[in-house]
Amino acid sequence: MTSPTSTAALGQRSGVVERVSKPGGEGEWLEVSMGPQHPSTHGVFRMDVVLDGERVVRLKPVFGYLHRNHEKIAEGTTYLGSMPYTDRLDYFCSMTNNWAYALAVEKLAGLHVPERAEYLRVILAELTRLQNHASLCGFLLQDMGAMGTPLMYAFREREKILDLFEAISGARMMCNFMRFGGCRCDAPPGWLDAARRVVDGFPAFLDEFEALLSENEIIMARTQGVGVLPRELAINAGVTGPMLRASGVNYDIRKVDRYGIYDRFEFKIPLGEHGDTYDRYMIRILEMRESVKILQQALRDIPPGPVMDPKAKLRGLRPKPGEAYARIEAPKGELGFYLISDGGPNPYRYRVRPPSFINLTVLEDMCRGHTVADVVVILGSVDIVLGEVDR
């Protein structure tokens, strides 16, 4: 160990690594800046990690590198104009972002969504969940050193779903498909059959993916008992989505709110027991299996009919003064939009409740006491997208 020991306050240093004196003990701690260009940080995300040897003592998430002023821009543009911007929040799941925003505006403006559009929304949201969870599992395994292979398997499957998105909305990721009072257009001829083929082939992919790595001894050793999120802490911190359910809390907004037409489908909510990283991985695999069930029911029952509320108009939407909060179960957790209207063409206040931002707040509690290599895995299991965290 070198001397003299630095006593600089945390956060005020020039290098990447800073030595910090250990309170009341021999030796010293190292403060390391992980990210924002670290390959495991899933975007431009930085962590200030204080290490005792290889163990994490403190961890401070630092974000904002991708801040794009989303909420303020939305207050200056029309209700319709914000729709394509919501695609760019969580750029893996543009369909669910669209849905949450459309739901909030529909509440505000009192629009009703036709039957067929509701079915289309459910189908697209569940397809989004499939591709988000598939790629998350791939990324998580890649973080543990399974370079490439599982991720490419997941992306192969995701590609089929993105092709469906492109055929219906025109874009693979920035779909901008839902409108206030329905969907922009109906599914093109043959689309529903193509979707059925993809959905029917999905369980085979899940079996293959699970055979690949789910019972792998190395994966189990790296994830079981690592990054445990206790049930009470998860509830107190407002964690939602698969992370909360991995800790054993039965809370899924599809069941709690039954927004849209989710009350018509039969599906189960998988729950974890230990709240560790392995549970968070498995919960996503199980959720994909349940999503396949929802999709099969929705694709079987979808009725013909219009996809837009005839009362809805595209331009010049001016809801009556009031406020609305709408939330949905996005693949990452509870995604909510809070809008205040003052009767003008643009919202007076526009606020996004992003799931991965709030799920990130418990990162320090999950990482404390674990090694640096585990921090990478734990962060991977949170499933963050910085477009949504920073907005």
Partner: protein
């Protein structure tokens, strides 16, 4: 047995590798610049302006109403309305855009301009190889480059273009029907273009 699951996983990879020599379905990638995937009809990349007939200027459907300019979320469209008028597809004299520029570097391909256009004048192109070496002038696309024929529109979006043509033909028939029964009525007023900003 320890390591059993590792071997099971490796068997999956080996199976995929071996079968990729016999089954085309397992080869999911293509050699891009030489091989190309057919694009779905709905694909959208960058807007273009539709013109009827052969002359890009005379046939341009855009009447410079500037609705798309106002509605564009990232404000990438710039329009200057003409001083004079030219007849549109129904024969009514209409303004036309003296300048119509779209900033390619700002456009986010959201298609809102297409949805709000009441004249079916702006549509989405499917061309995606839009890179340029000139980042100052190459990224600002002018009216001359934006104008593309209705035949081209039919080529890239056949179903949609057929529906648009049918709608326009119906409009024209309605306009003709209105014009014929009462020819001596006061000379037609130029229809006011939707209010500019």
């Amino acid at each position: 047995m320890l390591g059993e699951a590792i071997l099971k996983g490796l068997a999956v990879t080996a199976k995929n590798f071996a079968l990729s020599y016999v089954s085309r379905a397992r080869l999911v990638t293509i050699q891009y610049p030489e091989e190309r995937q057919p694009l779905p009809e709905a694909t959208r990349q960058f807007p273009f302006l539709v013109y009827d007939g052969d002359d890009p200027h005379a046939g341009l459907r855009c009447v410079a109403c500037q609705i798309c300019e106002k509605e564009c979320p990232p404000q990438c469209i710039y329009i200057v309305k003409s001083k004079d008028k030219k007849p549109d597809h129904t024969g009514k004299p209409q303004f036309y855009p003296a300048i119509f520029d779209i900033d390619l570097s700002v456009c986010m391909s959201c298609q809102i301009c297409v949805e709000v256009c009441p004249f079916d004048a702006i549509k989405m192109d499917t061309e995606f190889e839009l890179s340029t070496t000139d980042r100052f002038h190459g990224l600002l696309v002018h009216k001359e480059q934006l104008a593309k024929s209705n035949a081209y529109y039919h080529k890239i979006h056949p179903t949609e273009a057929a529906a648009v043509d049918a709608r326009l033909a119906a409009e024209r028939a309605r306009a003709d029907a209105k014009a014929k029964p009462a020819p001596p009525t006061p000379p037609q007023k130029p229809a006011p273009a939707p209010t500019p900003a």
